[in-house]
Amino acid sequence: MIRQGRLLSQVRPVLWNFNRDLTELAVIASGLPRWMIAHPGSFLLFDVLLFALPLAWLMSGLRRWLGVAFVCFLALYLLLADIFWQMHHEPFILYVLLPMALITRRSDRFDTIFRFCRYYFLYIFVSAAVWKIARGAVFNGDEMSRILLIHHSELLSGDCSGWLCRAYAWLIDRPFMAQLFYISGVLVEAAFVVGVFTRRYDRLLLGLAVLFVVADLLVMRIPYWTLLLGCVTLWLDTRPRQRAIVVYETTHHENLPALLDCCEMRFPRVVVFLREGSFANLSGGQSPAARWPATEFVVQAPGESNRRFIRRLLRFPCSHLHLATLDNNLWLWALRLIAAPDLQVSVTVHEVNAFFTRPLGSLRDVTETLAKPLLRLRVRHYHFFLPAMAQRFAKMMPRAVTVFLPSRFYGAAAPVVDETRPFTIVIPGSVDANRRDYEPVLEVFRRWPAQLPPVQLVLLGDSGSEFGRSLVAQLQTQTKVRHYEGYIPEITYEQEIRQADVLWSPLRIHKTGSRHNPEIYGQTTASGLTADILLNNIPALAPEELILPDPFTIALLPYRDAHEAAQRLKRLATDDSYRIRLRQDIHRAFGYFSREHFAAAFDRLTALDPKGEEGAADAIDAVHPGVQK
């Protein structure tokens, strides 16, 4: 308005107009316009108030009386603007009505006013269509041609060299073509009647509103942008959302248990959308339905596209969404989440660096690079499997709420050493030379003394690759090896872990991530060890560069080289009392990994109020007071 010279102090009028509006007549009759003309300084005062009042209202934390003052003043300003320089009210009515929703402190009233504003926005279009139909203009074949002629006469009276002016002239001489524009406009306006009966097509109507305004500018040279404020009523769905959390998971189902335990603890309704494979392997010992009886599982149907599955998920009227895996479809998620601004969203980040890299090597890279800033703008709550990851992320995105939650809570029985079984070492994870360094493993078994108890080595991951087969062949010449090819069912996986005497995670600490991004185990990404280790109270052998926080450290047996690894293994294999003592220490320390200890962290992740019995979604309430509590 300032740039276009439309403020009252810029116009400094000396005359007024009567626009056949009764409210305006009342204002004129009150003598205010006359007084303002006699005291031109009042124009500047009104302009200052126009900006100062909403600012003061916002800065005061939306104090009611300031809101009422602002709405009343805005209405008066609009009336004066029309009286003095004929700024028509039509696109500005919602500027008066919408702030009323923020004046009320009651969520149901907010919802009602907001819904009313939505109906009013629909009415603007529908009413415009009805006028055109009822007054017969739509049936007048020359209507648009004549409108263009009258409306653009100033432009047409010049040299009319621009393409737009030539297009108007062309249409004026072709009434049928011009009328097609008019009829299209009426159809677009009339389409808004659909919104009276359903909210299902609100986003489509929003698109039509933008299209209408763009067409209005091009065809009529009427800049009606201000009307688009009403689109907010189509964008935001303020109907009370059900207090429920939806969890989306694709490939990292082994990390879900703790999250689901917390969800069941804090939400009356939990729904998990996941793939069939993830569902089948979610819980090792029992079925997911038995393990989490209060949770509903929605399995992606065979052949159902991700896009369709995600759309199905977002139709669920939940208050919270947690993306337990966000490896793919970033662009789709970014757009979808921006289109649902009242949804409280949290994300599990598996690779910190990947979330900030900007690769451009392929189309997928480009879309992900574009999507990441949008996601960071939209999502403020993040979950990590290690505190170091959370700290690293917080440095890169200081505004984020970063929370450490383990993959699962500890629930193993007190340790008992079974002396009848051979000493068992389990190396969990797929046999992958990029992620694990097997040279120390080979070295240890190459020199394993014959007088020591025999060792059962379990390669608990897919060893079907060429490298995997070669490794198995080499190890089999040195010790007894059990190995797997393909995906290992969770029940088998957990059974092997539980029967192990020691886990060995020969990680390469610096690894290349899923998008060829550099990641550091323990710092920017978590290995599966942090989930596996909580299945039982057994120690884990790991390179000393892998730094895990307390109380993980009690279970870690760090090694610098193969010699040191061999020393540690030999002691475990031969000293039963050391082994049982160590496991008892781990059992005690891992008691920390309980639901109760992480309830507060989960509340932070989901923006729940810990004071409430069931919590209150403050983050949502701020933008969406309609949430049911």
Binding site: Q10, L15, W16, R20, E24, I93, V96, I147, C160
Partner: protein
């Protein structure tokens, strides 16, 4: 924003809100049916809905500042509206004799409120100063002509020029 439910049943609030909502729309539709008059915030959205007859002539205001004619192509849409809008309003005031017909409808009320309802300002000097502010430089000589055109053979043909403002 915390919920401050007073304990009354929600359905009653909803019913009350619905009554307001229905009341507003009844008033809105009432004013819509009343065609010629509005009462803010009940306004019409019937722009470009009347059947336009073919215009015999088209009036265009030609504004010249210090000998230079202002052209719509040189202005953003909004700014051009701000150049032309006051001229249209001034002509309407002149044609209606300062809205005499509307004032007459007020009957005896008009006489009581007359000082507040009558315009006394002088348009031409104000417009000259206003245009200077809009253009960002003082206007030495302002000339406004009313030009009448006719649309013939796909172009505007000038048929009459009337000098209106010279200040």
């Amino acid at each position: 924003m915390k919920s401050q439910d007073s304990g009354r049943p929600l359905s009653r609030h909803k019913l009350q809100a619905k009554r307001w909502l229905i009341g507003f729309f009844i008033l809105q539709i009432g004013f819509d049916l009343a065609h010629s008059v509005t009462a803010f915030p009940f306004v019409h959205y019937g722009m470009f809905s009347q059947s336009f007859p073919h215009p015999d002539t088209l009036t265009v205001f030609r504004v010249s500042v210090d000998g230079e004619t202002l052209r719509p192509e040189d202005f953003a849409v909004y700014r051009w509206d701000m150049v032309q809008g006051p001229l249209g309003a001034a002509e309407k005031r002149a044609v209606t004799n300062d809205f005499a017909g509307d004032k007459k409808r007020l009957g005896s009320l008009y006489n009581r409120l007359r000082p507040n309802l009558d315009n006394t300002g002088d348009f031409a000097p104000w417009y000259k100063g206003y245009l200077g502010r809009l253009l960002g430089h003082p206007v030495g000589v302002l000339k406004v002509d009313k030009l009448r055109y006719r649309w013939t053979d796909g172009r505007m043909v000038l048929i009459q020029t009337e000098n209106w403002i010279y200040a």
